[in-house]
Structures are given as C-alpha cells and as structure tokens.
C-alpha cells in the first residue's frame, strides 16, 4: 500500500495552488502552441516551451511540463479531427474516423470523446502504474532486440490489416515507408543510403515533412478538386450537438475500456510502444465492434478506442522513463532531457532517492487530463469555429502553415521541396486508394525496426530462428498471426455478407470510392 500513499502524497503536492496554476498555464500554452503545424507534436511543443519551465522549481517545472504535454496532445487530436493533420503518429488513427465525423458535422462530439476517453484511460493508466510499475519494469527489462523486432512486426502488420480493402496496397505503402526511413547515413556502418550525394539527405527525411505532405496537403488537393460554393463542413449551431451525447458515451464504453488496457500494456514496453498502442487499439475495437462497417466512415468508437490507448499509454510510458531512464517516445525524451537538466537522474533509484519528484510528476500527469477535461471541453465550440472559415480562405492558410512546418523542422528549404513532392505522392495514393497510414507508421518505426532486426541476427549468427526460439518474441509473433488471421477471416465474412455473388460488386466499389474520393459535403 505504500505506493498508494506515495501517490496520494504526490497528488497533495501537485494540488498546491502554485503547481496547479502552472499546470493550467502549461495546458493552455500547450494547446495553443500545439495547434500550430511544425510545433504540433507534443515533443516539439515541449521543446519550444522547455526554457520557460526551466526557470521554475524542478517539481513545479515538471508539473507544468505535464500540463503542456497534455495540452499539446489534445491540440494534436484537434488538428487531426478538424483539418486531417496528424501531428504525431499516435494521432494518425484519429484522421480515419475523427475527420470523417467532422465532415458529417460531428467534430465537436469527436473532440469531446477524445478528451473524455483520454481522461478515463489515464485514470486507468495511473492506477495501473501505481500498482504494477515494479512488475512491468521487470518484464520490460527482458525485452531484447528480437522481442522488439517481433513487436514492431506486430504493429506494422496490424496497420495493414486495418487499412483494409487491398492488403497488397497496404503492404506497398508499408514497404515504401520502411524504404524512405533508410534514407540517410546508416548509423551502424556510416554508409550513405539513397542520399544521391546530397548533404540534405544525410539526416534522412523529416517526419513532419512526410506527414504534412502525405496527409495535410494531399487532403487539400483532394478537397479542391471541386469548386465549392457551400462550406466544406457542416457546423451545428446548438451547443448540445457540439458535445458527445449520452448515446455516444454508451457506444464507446467498451472501446474506452479495451483501449485503456491495451494502451497501458504496450506503452509500458520501452521503445516503439507508444505508436503501436493506438493502432492496435483501433484494430481491436474495430474487429470486436458490432458496427465494424462504419469504421473509416465516421464511427465514434474509432476515436474513443485509440485516444484511450494514447492516454493510458502516457501512464505506461512513464514506467520505462522513470524506472529505467529509457524514454518510450519523443515526448518522454524531452521529459528525460528536462529531468537531466534539473540534475535528476531517472532510473531504478529515482523512486527511492527523489520520491518528492517522481510521485508528484505521476500525479500531475493524471491531473493533467482532468485539467484538460475541465479547461478544454468548454472550449471545443470555439475550436470548431475553425471549420466555419470558408474553404477558400482555409486551404491557402493550410498550405502556408505547411510550408512553415516543413521549413521550421530544421530550417531547410530543401524540406519544402520535399513537402511539395510528398504532397503529390499523397494525392496519387488517394487517387489509387493506397492507404497512407502504413507508410507513415513504417517510416516512424523503420529505423528502430531495422536496428532490432540487425542486432537480433547478429546475436543469432544470421539465423532467423531466434525470433521463434525466444519465448516472449514467439508469443508476440503468435499473437500477430492470430490477430491477422482473425481480421482476414472477418473481412472475408463481411465481404461475403455485403456481396453474395461477385467479389467486387459495383455497390462495394462505389461505396469505397466515394469514401475515399469524395468528401461528404
């Protein structure tokens, strides 16, 4: 029970007026800065605002960072839902159903659901963190390169099975993403790969450039195909329609529960876990849902599940960070940097040497979601107003902001050229119905996946059997096979139900192409 006492103590510290005030400020700043492209990812927002927090006491500073982190995360789901701009990989999934909901005039409920499921999930995450941290830290230590490689295979195959209609196209997208991820100087050998002699490619391709091109600008190009007299999005006037209804909540209860558990478990694994959590959760929620046909066309569970995973993961991600000193994603890396700047060394000794820092930080991560709920839920109607801007003003603005985002990542005009190239690729993908999400996901996991693969084979003298000989790795692979088989079977069954005679009937083809090509007016 001592963990619980520590947590309560931590809550007490975090709830002091000064700390609470800074958390509120952090949350607002995080939301405002996080909504800007290029700064959108929580990691970038944290990095931009880091100097501000360093002027405060360590505990207060870290609590403010927790506020910024949650604000930025919420901003990320806001831009994904409203403008189809995912700011980090974990919000890519939100574009599937969140943006479709926005097109149907249900942006408000989608955003509200994102905040609510985030709050519930982080409650689960924090409770689980309090009681299971030592046990999970133990399991996490057993994760070596083969286990990571298997885990990432799991994540990548899930995205493909989720992306749906044509597995071949999903595979192409994934392979392309992995290949783009190899561009640059190989970290192991120092060899140049696909740089074509250009110094601009030594560092590889920037995540933000790829995302903005593939998602934001490609979406603009699809939308401008038709000249629009009417606004692209319907925005309801009544406040009640801007928040999730009781029915929405009931529909999403299962999705939130599932997402919370999945997110926490995957988030607790150091490295790669955070990105995979939201995708795994989406796939599971979709496959276990009675309304699985609605997914991709605006199912609110498709927002609740991944967002729950995304937030309980934050609790999970603190385990490797605080107990092992291993950051699980870009945001926790910035947190790690901040801890080090304060002179605090995360690791097994943190909880014994600096309980006055470790527990308030965990408590404030939890309070952060509460603040988010209290502060941002009432502001949703304001954010939704963005959609009232006529599209002829909105889309040039998105293009201008995309240029800013691509350029500011590292101050390179070369990246702006890349942005233009990727936006054309994204448009072609949309026209050919090739899903872009596997490419982005593969791009993010690519470098870690490659290193894990190479290290594993080095360990085993190039024998691929290592992946099935180690128990944890074999278990992960077995789950992968089971999930892929399950989703293949359910896809077949669905297709048979929808199309009794011919595999691709006009009705299915029409439904598919209208879902991809024509935004609902």
């Amino acid at each position: 029970m001592s963990a619980l006492n520590h947590l309560l103590d931590g809550l007490g510290t975090a709830l002091s007026p000064t700390n609470l005030l800074w958390m509120l400020i952090g949350c607002v700043l995080g939301t405002v800065v996080g909504i800007l492209p290029g700064l959108g990812s929580p990691a970038a927002t944290l990095a931009v605002l880091l100097p501000l927090t360093l002027r405060l006491q360590p505990t207060t500073g870290l609590i403010m960072m927790a506020g910024i982190y949650h604000g930025a995360k919420f901003a990320g789901s806001t831009t994904a839902i409203l403008l189809n701009i995912p700011t980090e990989t974990s919000s890519v999934v939100l574009c599937y159903d969140g943006h479709e909901l926005a097109k149907k005039g249900r942006a408000g409920p989608a955003m509200g659901m994102s905040a609510i499921s985030g709050f519930i999930a982080s409650t689960v995450g924090v409770i689980a963190l309090t009681f299971t941290a030592p046990a999970i830290a133990n399991l996490a230590v057993k994760f070596g390169p083969p286990e990571f490689a298997s885990l990432m295979t799991f994540g990548l195959l899930l995205v493909i099975s989720m992306a749906g209609k044509s597995p071949v196209k999903g595979f192409i997208s994934m392979a392309l993403g992995l290949l783009v991820a190899t561009v640059g100087v190989d970290l192991v050998s120092g060899a140049q790969r696909y740089t074509f002699g250009s110094i601009n490619l030594y560092d590889g391709v920037q995540f933000i450039t790829l995302t903005l091109g593939l998602f934001a600008v490609a979406e603009v190009l699809i939308n401008v195909e038709q000249k629009r007299a009417k606004p692209l999005f319907a925005v309801p006037k009544k406040l009640r329609e801007l928040l999730p209804s009781r029915q929405d909540l009931r529909r999403c209860a299962g999705a939130i529960g599932l997402g919370s558990v999945v997110g926490f478990i995957i988030g607790a694994l150091p490295g790669g876990g955070s990105t995979i959590g939201s995708f795994v959760s989406y796939t599971l929620v979709k496959n276990t849902s009675r309304n699985s046909d609605e997914f991709g066309k605006g199912a609110i569970e498709g927002v609740a599940g991944p967002e729950a995973a995304n937030n309980s993961e934050a609790g999970g991600a603190m385990i490797p960070l605080l107990s092992l000193g291993l950051p699980g994603n870009a945001s926790t890396s910035v947190m790690l940097a901040a801890l080090l700047l304060y002179g605090v060394q995360p690791g097994p000794l943190l909880f014994t040497n600096h309980p006055e820092i470790a527990w308030p930080v965990i408590a404030s991560l939890y309070l952060g979601t509460l603040v988010l709920l209290v502060l941002n839920l009432p502001l949703i109607p304001m954010w939704v107003q963005i959609l009232r801007i006529p599209y002829w003003i909105l889309y040039p603005t998105i293009l201008v902001l995309a240029v800013v985002g691509a350029y500011s990542a590292r101050g390179s005009l070369f990246d702006v050229w890349m942005l233009v190239g990727f936006s054309l690729l994204g448009y072609i993908f949309r026209k050919l119905e090739i899903p872009a999400a596997p490419m982005l996901m593969a791009f993010v996991l690519g470098p870690q996946f490659e290193v894990a693969l190479r290290q594993s084979l080095t360990l085993s003298n190039n024998s691929p059997l290592i992946f099935v000989e180690r128990p944890i790795s074999a278990t992960v692979l077995a789950i992968t096979v089971a999930v892929v088989a399950f989703s293949t079977v359910s896809r077949h069954r669905r297709r048979r139900r929808g199309a009794p005679a011919v595999p691709t009937t006009p009705s299915v083809a029409a439904a598919n192409s209208s879902a991809v090509d024509e935004p609902v007016k």
Binding site: V33, L36, G38, L39, V48, V168, K169, I172, A175, L176, L178, L179, T182, D186, V188, S189, A191, R193, Y194, V217, V220, L221, V224, E225, Q226, K227, W392, I393, Y395, P396, L399, V400, L401, V403, V404, Y407, S408, L413, V416, W417, V420, S423, L424, Y427, K431, L432, I434, E450, L453, R454, L457, T458, N462, V502, T504, P506, A509, A510, S513, D517
Partner: protein, 169 residues
C-alpha cells in the same frame, strides 16, 4: 480503377527495381559477417518489386471478370475518364503547380512575399475570386503567420536571397 492499378503496379515494381540496383552497391553483410547497411534496403526493394508485380498481375486478371458487368464499367468511366473527372484532377493539379512555383519564389524573395504570391495565385487564378477580400487574405495570412512565428515564438522563417522591407530579417 483496374487500369490505374496495372499502371501503379508497374510503377511500384520499377521503383523497387531502381532501389534494388542502388541497394546492391551497399554491403548486404558487413565485413564481420553480420547484416550490413545494404541488408534492409535489399530486402525492402525486393519486396517492392514483388508487390508491384502482384498488384499489376491481379488487376490484369480481374479485368475480364468485371467487364461482364456493364454497370461496373460505367462506374469506372465516371471515376477517372469522364470530363468531370478530368477537370477535377486539373483543378487539383493547378493548386499543386502553384504550390510548386512558390518554392523557388520562397528561395529568392523570402517568406512573406512568396506566400502572398502563392495565396494570390490560388485565389485569383484557381478560385477566380477577383475581389478585395482575396487581396486582404493574400496579405493578412502571410503577414500574420510571419508575425506569430518570427516575433512571438522566435522561430526563423526563410528570408530569401533578396531581403525585402520589414520581413527581411
């Protein structure tokens, strides 16, 4: 969209082949016998070739099956080849070309002038909104974004070779 898939499959296979040729020059196994820098790229580009061929061949095979359904063909026509389909692609293409043209302008004139030109091209050229509101948007959006990033957040934006006026620094 069967024909488009055949083309896409061919393009993917060609891209994979190109990547494979480049990857072969990198060491598949390093000197110490462990997987080297060429290991992953070789596998991936090989995979792309296979996937491209699979996509192309399966789409070729599907064709006779769908041609029996007249409805299906009509569906295909409206999707890509009809006049309205072509004009839609042209409109998107026009926006993309404006976006492309903005980059060299950005390099020479800097952020605010280049983005003002981009927005003006889009609103006057593509959207044909020839009124004062377009002019206001073309000025307010670039200047507003510039002020926000450069002055409030101290994040530098491209200044261009020829720096102009108050936005040159």
């Amino acid at each position: 969209m069967q024909r488009a898939d055949v083309v896409a499959g061919t393009a993917v296979a060609a891209l994979g082949a190109f990547a494979l040729v480049t990857a072969v020059n990198l060491a598949f196994l390093s000197d110490s016998g462990v997987p080297g820098p060429g290991f992953f790229p070789t596998l991936l580009s090989g995979l792309l070739v296979v996937l491209g061929v699979v996509l192309g061949v399966t789409s070729l095979r599907k064709r006779p099956a769908t041609e029996t359904g007249a409805e299906d063909e009509a569906e295909e026509l409206t999707a890509a080849d009809s006049p309205s389909g072509r004009s839609r692609v042209l409109r998107a293409g026009a926006v993309w070309v404006c976006f492309l043209l903005a980059v060299p302008i950005l390099t020479y004139l800097g952020f605010v002038p280049a983005m003002a030109i981009l927005v003006a091209l889009l609103l006057f050229g593509v959207e044909r909104r020839l009124d004062w509101r377009s002019l206001v948007v073309a000025v307010v959006v670039p200047v507003g974004v510039y002020e926000l990033f450069v002055h409030l957040l101290s994040i530098p934006l491209p200044t261009g070779v020829i720096a102009i006026g108050p936005f040159g620094s």
